[in-house]
Amino acid sequence: MTALILLSSLGVIALLAEIFSFKKLLYPVVLLGLITTFILNLVDWNTDHLYFGMMRYDNFAVAFSSVLIGITFLWFIMSEGFFKEETSLTDHFALILFALAGGVIMVSYTNMTMLFLGIEILSIPMYVLAGSKKEDVASNEAGFKYLIMGAFATGFLLFGITLIYGSTASFDLPTIADFVASHQGTIPTMFYVGVLLMMVGLGFKVSAVPFHFWAPDVYQGAPTPVTAFMATVVKTAAFAAFLRLFAGTFAGVGGIWTEVLCVMAALTLLTGNITAVLQSSAKRMLAYSSIAHAGYMLLALIALNQFSQSSILFYTLAYSIGSIASFGVLSAVATARGNDAVDSFNGLAKSNPLLAFAMTVAVLSLAGIPPTAGFFAKYYIFTAAFQAGYGWLVLIAILASLIGVYYYFRIIIAMYFKQGSEEKIEISFNHKLLFVITILLTIALGVMPEYIIRLL
């Protein structure tokens, strides 16, 4: 709860900066604010507070909030340039902070209304930010598409909530769980329909196939920092929300939705990875890879066992760090060399060894090669799914990771093998620091995953 209050206040402060003209100070203030929030958030560890039957600060909420805040912090360092434009600077700050607050609600809700509010608080700033490059047609298209598709998804979600309310007369998650437990065999069909509709709604948010069509265009059209935020913070929050609802409340009717989700996971893994192979734009490729990663995380959700929570926590963390690094490098390369094609990475190892190395570690992690964090994340999810008896899904996931290697390595080959511009790309000290941090974190998490996985 502390985190939520602090983040909202920080958002308001960001808006006030325009009026009281301390725009120049805002960047450090926000960074400090995020650090403070991160620390105070940890104070809630093991307290398990329930707030008015609406939000529950259990360890799950604290752990995922910390991931969200930590990743946003790294994101702010990565997106330095995004906050250098003169116009609508404070809006950018405020929108991101409010979106983050929405994310925190999404990982800590215990009532359907809060879930809905959280998703909307997170999404509306993202609609605006996706379209924030006002002169760029692609950005406008992205914002518009995201809004329409998001509204669609919200419709499904609300419809689902309504049906569930209709059969249980409650928005409260524990009450609904009790209802499921006590009415085994006599649960009305309406309830199941509600569950499936909510799954569709959340499927949109995590961009699972076949509800992924918005993602590539939106990811590609939006400004790169916004894309990075969507791929990391938004996705993490959406998965945590998905997990909290389905693995917690709807676990009792798991038989109904896991089968559907199995098909969705398999499709997501294959579609995401295979389509990524065909892309020539690195940004679009990362968009498809982001879809593919949702597929792996769905496996953990389907497994519905003691590993589900910790494996998704670890996966989102590993994946977000890898994404922040890769989008950071992409953004630097695309700005300096004028486009975001895979070819623009040519010769990067010669001109900027640090950027190339950071990108290599990031894509090795995304591809799941030891000793990076991404490998353990995948391994852990495979174990969870295997344990639950989904050996065939694991085989598909293994095949998918193999395809994944194909496109991730295109970037490595471009950087280390192909001849390209010799011109050194200037990167700021903060960015250098960020890349060093992501490299170290990726390897540290891969070598010592124990500290994260035993949290939940």
Partner: protein, 487 residues
Amino acid sequence: MITLLLIFFPLAASLLLLLVKGEQVKKIALAAAVVEFAIALFAITQYQHNALTQFEINLPWIQSLGINFHVGIDGISLLMVLLTTFLVPVIILTSFKNEYKNPSAFYSLILAMQMALIGVFVSLDGFLFYVFWELALIPIYFICLLWGGEDRARITFKFFVYTLAGSLLMLAGLIYLYQHTATHTFDIAALYAAGQSMDMVHQGYVFWAMFMAFAIKMPIFPFHTWQPDTYTTSPTQGTMLLSGIMLKMGTYGVIRWLLPIAPLGVAHWGTVAIILSVTGIVYASCIAIVQKDFKRLIAYSSIAHVGLIAAGILAGNEQGVQGGMIQMLSHGVNVVGLFFIVDIIQRRTGTREIAVLGGIRNVNPQFAVLFLIVLLGSVALPLTNGFVGEFLLLNGVYQFNAWIAAFAGLSVILGAVYMLRSYQSIMLGETNALTSGFAPLSTSEKTVLIILCAAIIVFGVFPKPLLDIAAPSVKHLVESFQMAITK
């Protein structure tokens, strides 16, 4: 402690090298590799000749999943460690005449690779084994990608994807086994027990999942298609690492993991696997005969040799496995020697094509003698190292099935055909414009070849000390294997 030192000393040296600039890099890398070899020799002096695992270290790593940093050395591991630590300094020494761009990265990657290889050979935890197994792939991929020859991006990528596909199957197999352990652990003993408690059908699944990984790494026909291109394109030192040491990860994997984990699977599917291996021997030998490029010829000959090793090991009797151990060492030494000879010839004449060379012996008899010794080791002449292993291997396969052994025996004959023919064409005959200026061997080249030739002869005449190191462990392993399949 020795085990940890063996694993982490190369890593420390590798990181240190990244900070060094200029000419010193080669020497520091060589010094580090020699120190590592000294550590391995020290381990041999401390080693007790019995079947027990020694120098064992078991530290908790990811406890909640039953994963431990469990390493230890028995006779089988010790021989592999010895091979690795012996070959890496030799390989570094072979590069002394080459000028590589960005040398600190090059040598750093070689030492990082050594760390992963040692890790593979001493791991006693399934997860740890897998991590090292994969870890070995990254340095060699970059060595081949950055310093390789023509069309390297495509070829090294094929290599990477091929081996990764096998590895991922093995990972699936390991997770499957893990689910069947009583306490959910990756400890080797628990994995053995879990595998052996399954029926034949399920052991068959495990067998194929793991065998694929090993078969691709070695490689065994028909999973070999990455190998000739990769060996030909890689820089010489990369080829040496691949053929001299990395290939042995596959054969070692069969001995350490496959035979004990899935004895019934091996008993049931072993014949198929052995027939594949022997097919590979004949097939690769025939292709080697018609090769024009000498480096490519040796790449194919390597498929033939490793096919025999795999067949002998999969036969699952004492001669076969013991022969496999010995031949793994001999092949490592011989193939590094041969690839170095290719390198020497190529650097002096600018070509590897067998047909255009000739008469080098007239110009440089010293080189001709050293080449001949390496070659005789490779064709398994008695009193060279190749003979001991090949004899035991054929003996092992013969006990398994005489017909298969007859075909496997072709490897010796065909091997002599292509090796002697290429020697004749390259070294003998008329000296031509290309070879007339064949420069004398430099000190570092001479050192390497003399070390390798000495190893070939000493080990051929007096193989007993090395045989004795692995014998108790091999005997124990084969006995438990035979017991499991007759049960």
